[in-house]
Symmetry: C2
Subunit: 523 residues, 2 copies
């Protein structure tokens, strides 16, 4: 990170510090330098004057179906993005893959001494139109509040010309995840220019079209285009901000790997009267095996070495977690249970540990389909979330060793007759193709402190700073493969029905997001 | 049981004993008394002369659909039965229920001093015609062997007039379960009369049309028609005989009760990244709970009191089990596993204990449907097989107490928000409607010894005598409600695909069954 330019991160850090320590005016330190509050004000006044235009562009974008597997429409999305970027003077390039193309853009600023890379994804989750209320997923509508609270569809303001209530919401697939950050970036750039606040850093954009398909090409792109993607910092703009509404920054993400575990009984389901409690029951065996994996009291994973490679939280991270406000929408009571399962009372602490989650179990039939049989197999689907610096393959190896220690013969394929005859306890363990390591950017880096300071100064409040998100996003391609400090910038409302029917974006979050992006663009 | 008439069971018992102890001729003891081997020979010669006629009647019966829920066709079945019985001089009566009627018949013999009751069921399992090969379930066909061995459909011999190979099979729903014993009885009665061997006991018939629906009216019928059903012995003619081909008698059946167990996590499935290993995982909790129920080494159920009310096997029963030949088609290797799950090496011993069988588990999704979530619920379906003298409700009470001892708050309905908030561990336990106690007739009763002796004498081989079947049939209505000694008489081939597509009956079993029924009808 270079530090000589007045618009560098380090300077902003100093400015922020001066504000905290009581300096009344940053402009007094560096004349002709707009303050962060000026930038916010400028973005706000531009937005207030252009709300219908901004929404018009957003609606146009939302009307293009964007499921990763739908390659013809994905290409229409990519072309739409290129036109929108080129209209803003951004040099664009399609980075082709064997799936969806990445849309890459560069805005080079003469004399700039640093480069900022903004990542968003333009694909969205598939949508079942039968579960959307009142419209189709790619036919955006406005509601005067939350559908769940009974809000109704209102006329589209870009057509009716009526004033826009920031409590209204746009309902459409990808309204939140993850097209709105792209619109925020475009509007922020327009706003800066309208206020004569051109970015002074080089700006790069990387828009992915395969994120909801698990980013299968992210590593390849990082590998093939390392030079093009070089930057001083990456902003990964995705996900919902803290429900407190405060600006939110997240400095890492958990990795993930998945395992399917199959335990075997007889070759065919057998009559439970004639064979029950004699033929081995794979459902019971699976239950007994899973029960060895977690301590029911502490919630700790009992697989040997599970936590060994975890890098303990830094003092800064511990303090950051302590400062995260409690979220009443995510309390045990709100979610429907009495208390967390283990020793970590706070969710934000629990997610800094590697997990072992049983995400599904099935053996034979239940409910109306129930039959009185001894099942032939029992299957458990596990996801293992990873934290710094635990690697997918080593965690799976630990799990396999644990299963072997319980007396199971572990196989990778369905057993044949001789394998069945030779091993009283058989378990097939297969690792899912989808998965990647965790990523973490230190909150103690100057760049991390600088970004936090900028937001603190701009919005007059302490940002919510999370050392990691509990979820998994392929940040590792930036942090570990490209060696770039990477910060997640979540902006949308927490109740956006992400990945579900009736996804939506609260207009207030769009407006606030434009201000946040304006601050980040002028680092 | 009266004992003065030459055709009484006790006499037959003496005859059998005299044969075993070396007497060369039973007819020498009681002149004019046909021996059991005479009866078998008579039945056989009648059958050999009437194979096409017997099969013709059977085919006519098999062509009437007989699913219990299909009441119009069930009534056509009942009327067909009444005509077939009345043509044989049997006085018939429909015992109506709110479901299928029972067809009751009486053949009163002047001077008879004892009464035999034969039970069969005329309804069959539902059938999915798409899974039947080469014909529809109620369009019987003949094959020259087993479908699984590649046997082909042959012309129906009653139409072609060709000789019938006893290795052929009739493929049709209920060919084995349980219409063939009815045909065996009718043919045996015809055979006896053709050889001037009229029964000397009163004979009663009870044909049920709701057995595959769980015999919901059996208790009611036993209660309402106790006098009509009074008998000295009940023969419950259903099920496959021992694969050795030896005549088989079973002196009891296990009872059954079912339990559905639901464990709760959050109200909705939650993202496993954000909430995993913090929100309680019901799939893991269910696994941990199930694991407390069985000892993985001994296979013993660890629920307190599970075995307390079990009446130990008598010396006769222990000896009978020891004498049951091993069945190579039911060995662990044949069924696809290395060894039995617990301490009971032999299946025939294991089924004399009460079981706890996990017949199905489900939580969230597996396979292609898998989602990275913390499930909201996890369900296990259990069946508890019961032996003498363990009652359904007390076994369920023991299970509930066990679940409570593991720290669960047990409920009978889905929990509301306040119940969720109050109890960290919640389990819903519901007992299935279907279920009844076990039944056992002592093998030491004179009547039991007499029947065994008759078959031993008739076929010159030791019958396979099982103290109980592992499956559940509602014998208790006869044994416990009516106080009648009741013996199961299984006659069909073990590989009949009972309850499955391509159900079949091996002709040899039909022929042998006629001989067995002839012996029993002349007790």
């Amino acid at each position: 990170m270079k530090k000589s330019h007045p618009r560098t991160l380090a300077l902003r850090c100093l400015l922020a510090t001066s504000l905290i320590t009581g300096s009344t005016s940053a402009t007094a330190v560096i004349p002709q330098q707009s303050t962060e509050t000026d930038i916010v004000a400028s973005a706000r006044s531009y937005r207030e004057a252009n709300e219908h235009r901004i929404l018009g562009e957003f609606l146009e974008f939302l009307r293009i179906p964007n499921v990763a597997a739908d390659l013809p429409n994905i290409r229409i999305n990519a072309e739409w993005l290129m036109r929108a970027m080129e209209a803003r003077g951004i040099k664009t390039q399609l980075l082709e893959t064997n799936g969806s193309p990445y849309v890459f853009g560069e805005l080079n600023v003469p004399g700039a001494e640093q480069t900022l890379l903004f990542y968003c994804h333009y694909d969205g989750q598939p949508a079942d139109p039968t579960r959307w209320v009142g419209h189709r997923p790619w036919q955006p509508v406005f509601r005067n509040g939350r559908l769940e609270d009974g809000a109704e569809i209102v006329p589209i303001p870009t057509e009716s010309g009526v004033p826009i209530d920031p409590e209204w919401r746009i309902y459409a697939r990808s309204a939140s995840d993850d097209r709105s950050p792209i619109i925020m970036l475009f509007a922020a750039l327009d706003a800066l220019r309208a206020g004569a606040l051109e970015p002074t850093s080089n700006i790069k954009f990387l828009f992915e079209g395969d994120e909801e398909a698990g980013s299968p090409n992210m590593s390849l792109i990082a590998d093939q285009h390392a030079a093009a993607l070089a930057a001083d910092i990456v902003f990964f703009a995705d996900g919902p901000k803290h429900p407190s509404g405060r600006p939110t920054l997240t400095f890492g993400a958990r990795g993930i790997t998945t395992v399917q575990l199959t335990v075997y009984g007889p070759t065919q389901p057998l009559h439970s009267g004639h064979y029950g409690n004699w033929a081995p029951n794979p459902a019971m065996r699976l239950a007994q095996l899973l029960a060895t994996m977690k301590d029911p009291d502490s919630g700790r994973v009992m697989v040997e070495g599970w936590y060994d490679d975890r890098v303990p939280l830094s003092e800064t991270e511990v303090a950051a977690i302590a400062n995260i406000p409690d979220d009443p929408t995510q309390s045990p009571e709100a979610l429907g249970f009495a208390r967390p399962e283990g020793e970590w009372e706070r969710r934000v602490e629990a997610i800094t540990y590697p997990s072992l989650n049983v995400r599904g179990i099935s053996s034979a039939w239940v409910g109306d389909e129930t039959r009185t049989i001894v099942p032939d197999t029992a299957i458990a689907e596990l996801d293992l979330r990873l934290v710094h610096d635990i690697h997918p393959s080593s965690q799976v190896e630990r799990l396999v060793a644990h299963i072997q220690q319980q007396g199971f013969h572990v196989i990778g394929e369905d057993p044949d007759a001789s394998t069945r005859a030779a091993h009283p306890m058989l378990a097939k363990v297969t690792q899912g193709e989808f998965g990647y390591p965790s990523a973490r950017t230190s909150m103690d880096l100057p760049v991390s402190k600088a970004v936090l300071g900028r937001l603190r100064e701009a919005f007059g409040t302490e940002p919510v700073a999370l050392p990691t998100t509990g979820g998994s996003v392929p940040l590792y391609a930036f942090t570990d493969m490209l060696g770039l400090p990477t910060i997640l910038v979540p902006t949308v409302n927490h109740d956006n029905n992400q990945h579900s029917p009736n996804e939506n974006l609260k207009i207030l979050n769009l407006w606030k997001g434009i201000e946040i992006m304006a601050v980040l663009l002028t680092l």
